[in-house]
């Protein structure tokens, strides 16, 4: 009889360990593993995948009815929303500065600073703040956010080639973490990491976001780019070994499958269940490809994905 000997995969590198939260806040540490996701028999995984919940600084105008029903009135006040999110199990809060977008109100420095202050005092979990994606606008508001949170080690995103200088400068000055975003592009991801570290950002102050699409909308690209990034990082390339953050909720819930209530084929089934499963499936797939921090929107997905993570950690 052939005897089974398990071949072990020993990697020379490891994922950088990044800690969010400081200055009296709770902390969350992600990364640090020297193996592919959850393969405890191959190596060590000191930190589990963390779960954050996304909230917005104004009541979302375009969110799925399924989400609005689940959250109810709290969406009208970001601080109350953040507290509720922590009750539902959020280990970190992702604050989306939606109102600053030129199309959504174009609010400015004062508002961005005020809402950051508000959330920082409402909850004690780490904070992630995401700007508008419009480079000029983000260059204006993100420094104010950074200053308001000085010493509390928040994560600030997204930074791209266009605006990374500003984000890196404030992250260095105020002790924060930067989130470079590089949809579907392995080389771009590495290039951005090089730019960030060359500009003086410590290697343990980067969380990279290669997310490009939810289930059914390019998931396979994100999945494979993440696997390749992770294998390159574990193979010893320090400039691809950053922990990965995936804004799963945003991508999953903007799809028709999660959002549209009427006029859909019967074969799509119940809308609420479908939306939640859509988010959970996106999360579990990306976790298998190396996600270190998943950002979700629905309280039920937070509970179920959280439980799955606990089980995967053995």
């Amino acid at each position: 009889m052939p005897s089974v000997e398990i071949p072990l995969e020993k990697w020379t590198g490891q994922v950088h360990q990044v800690t969010l939260g400081a200055g009296g806040r709770k902390t969350v540490t992600v990364g640090g593993e020297n193996t592919l996701p959850y393969l405890h028999f191959d190596g060590t995984i000191p930190n589990k995948t963390a779960v954050a919940i996304e909230i917005q600084d104004i009541a979302p105008a375009d969110w799925s009815p399924t989400l609005l029903k689940a959250w109810g009135d709290v969406v009208n006040d970001p601080a109350t929303w953040a507290k509720k999110a922590v009750e539902y199990g959020a280990e970190a809060i992702l604050l989306n500065l939606k109102s600053a977008h030129p199309d959504e109100g174009n609010t400015g420095i004062a508002e961005a600073k005020a809402v950051t202050d508000k959330i920082l005092s409402a909850v004690d979990v780490p904070l992630i703040v995401i700007g508008t994606g419009v480079a000029d606008k983000d260059n204006e508001i993100l420094p104010a956010v950074s200053e308001a949170a000085r010493g509390q080690r928040i994560a600030i995103g997204n930074c791209e080639e266009k605006n990374y200088r500003t984000v890196v400068a404030v992250c260095i000055a105020d002790g924060h973490i930067a989130i470079p975003s590089s949809p579907v592009d392995l080389n771009l991801a590495k290039q951005l990491n090089i730019l960030l570290t060359d500009a003086g950002l410590p290697i343990d102050a980067i969380l990279m976001d290669p997310t490009t699409g939810a289930l059914g909308y390019g998931l396979e690209y994100t999945y494979s780019v993440m696997e390749r990034l992770r294998m390159a990082g574990l193979g010893g390339d320090k400039l691809t070994a950053m922990p990965i953050i995936n804004n799963v909720g945003e991508d999953a819930w903007k799809q028709k499958e999660a959002k549209v209530a009427q006029g859909l084929p019967e074969s799509w089934g119940d809308m609420e269940t479908r939306g939640i499963i859509w988010e959970e499936q996106t999360a579990i797939s990306l976790m298998q490809a190396g996600s270190n921090l998943v950002v979700l929107r629905h309280p039920q997905s937070v509970a179920k994905v959280g439980a799955a993570i606990t089980k995967l950690m053995g």
Binding site: Y217, E220, S267
Partner: protein
């Protein structure tokens, strides 16, 4: 493991006699490695070399077929651990389990087997029904098997540890080549006999990989090689470990005794329907070939089938959209018209943004052989002529009340040419990034 040309070369006569049609034995070996010719083309390979080569070129995960006809499940033949290395070949079969103690079993089987849903022009459906002998009554089991066979057209799995019950069911449905589940250390001889007699694929269930390997050895020696394996892991961590180890042994070590497709039962380790679906989702990504679910509803089946479609997409051949005009958000004759390429990811990102923009739109998709905007433009597959042709082919001048078309910002250079091709049209240049289309429309579309 597939052999390299150099490995194959070692088995050849090395006389360079050219009778195979190639100038040297080495070039013949290289073509063999690419599967571009047959070993039989060389008249001089020794029998010993032949059998060595055949053993070594056995696919690392055996191809196994369950069922017959159009809806048979074909699984296995996988050659990589990571989809980006090549591709995952045979999509995992998704199966619903019904029990012979359940009065609604036939109705449930029928509903699941009749389910189908379309996505990007692909018709997706559940692949089979597993029938479990929960009642421990052989006659009941056989009757349900016969009833499910009559009521559905999908592949079947028969689940019983009782060989008499299995035989009774096989008498009714054996000709449909169901998967016999399962041979265990206790009943292996009798189950192997049944698999042989009815020429059906056989699942083996073992606690731990060693027990599984011992059972597959026993079956293979008895001549039953169409095997599916169940390492008896039911949770997240243990099944991820076992399935990863099985695939790794098969592919990296050519470990024949575990070189078979794996069957999983995510419902057994789950606390809720969400949990079952997530565990199934993990098994789709990490190495299950047949996944037996305990719950069926369209709202769960649709995302799972989509996850499978995504993971099993060939990375070298991205999903392409059919060329045409796609309505987004119920557009009218005076609604926005954008044009893009048929690379699915390009389409999805722009379609998603348009749907969320608040502007109902028509999206004209040109056939660019699956290339994204910039790549297609660089390759000469997305130019003014092609766009103008598509505008006419899909009769946009007749269906729209305006003559305005928005080009992707990345190919702004096409504006002049397109004005020449479509002289009475206004050519607008949209943003480079799909994400900015909403703002763009707010400022530029009236």
């Amino acid at each position: 493991m597939a052999l390299t040309g150099v490995q194959i070369y070692k088995f050849l006569p090395k006389t360079n006699c050219k009778e195979c049609g190639f100038p040297t034995c080495l070039s013949f070996a290289m073509k063999l490695a690419q599967r571009a010719t047959e070993l039989g083309a060389c008249p001089y390979v020794s029998d010993e070399a032949k059998s060595n080569l055949e053993a070594a070129s056995r696919p690392p995960v055996r191809l196994v077929t369950v069922g017959v006809g159009e809806k048979k499940i074909e699984v296995g033949n996988e050659v990589v651990l990571f989809r980006h290395e090549k591709t995952f070949v045979h999509p995992a079969g998704l199966v619903l389990r019904v029990k012979d103690s359940d009065a609604d079993a036939v109705a449930k089987a029928k509903e699941a087997a009749a389910y189908s849903v379309e996505r990007v022009g692909i018709n997706m459906y559940l692949d089979g029904i597993a029938i479990e002998n929960d009642s421990k009554d052989a006659a009941k089991f056989a009757k349900l098997a016969a009833d499910v066979k009559a009521a559905t057209d999908v592949a079947l799995i028969l689940m019983s540890s009782d060989t008499a019950a299995m035989k009774a069911a096989l008498e009714k449905v054996g000709e449909d080549k169901p998967l016999i589940y399962a041979a265990t250390a206790d009943n292996a001889d009798a189950m192997i006999e049944l698999a042989k007699k009815y020429s059906c694929p056989l699942a083996v269930y073992g606690n731990g990989l060693q027990e599984v390997a011992d059972l597959t050895e026993q079956a293979a020696k008895a001549g039953v090689e169409d095997l599916v394996i169940d390492p008896a892991t039911r949770g997240y961590a243990d099944s991820l470990d076992a399935l990863t180890q099985i695939r790794r042994l098969a592919i990296k070590k050519s470990f024949v005794a575990l070189g078979y497709p794996v069957i999983t039962f995510p419902g057994e380790g789950a606390e809720s329907i969400d949990d079952e679906a997530m565990l199934a989702g993990m098994h789709i990504a990490k190495y299950a070939s047949i996944i037996v679910l305990d719950n069926f509803s369209p709202a769960v089946a649709y995302p799972l089938l989509t996850a499978r479609l995504n993971i099993y997409t060939d990375p070298q051949k991205p999903i392409q959209m059919a060329a045409g005009v796609y309505p987004l958000g119920d557009p009218k004759a005076d609604s926005v018209l954008c044009v893009t390429t048929n690379f699915s990811l390009t389409y999805f990102s722009i379609a998603g943004e348009l749907e969320n923009s608040g502007y109902p739109s028509h999206l004209l998709v040109c056939d660019t052989e699956g290339l994204s905007v910039l790549t297609a433009w660089a390759a000469g597959k997305f130019d003014a002529e092609k766009i103008a042709k598509a505008v006419k082919e899909f009769k946009l001048p007749d269906t729209l009340s305006h003559k305005k078309i928005i080009l992707p910002g990345g190919v702004a250079v096409l504006k002049g040419d397109l004005e020449d091709e479509l002289p009475d049209w206004e050519i607008l240049v949209g943003p480079r990034e799909a994400m900015a289309i909403g703002s763009y429309l707010k400022q530029n579309w009236s």
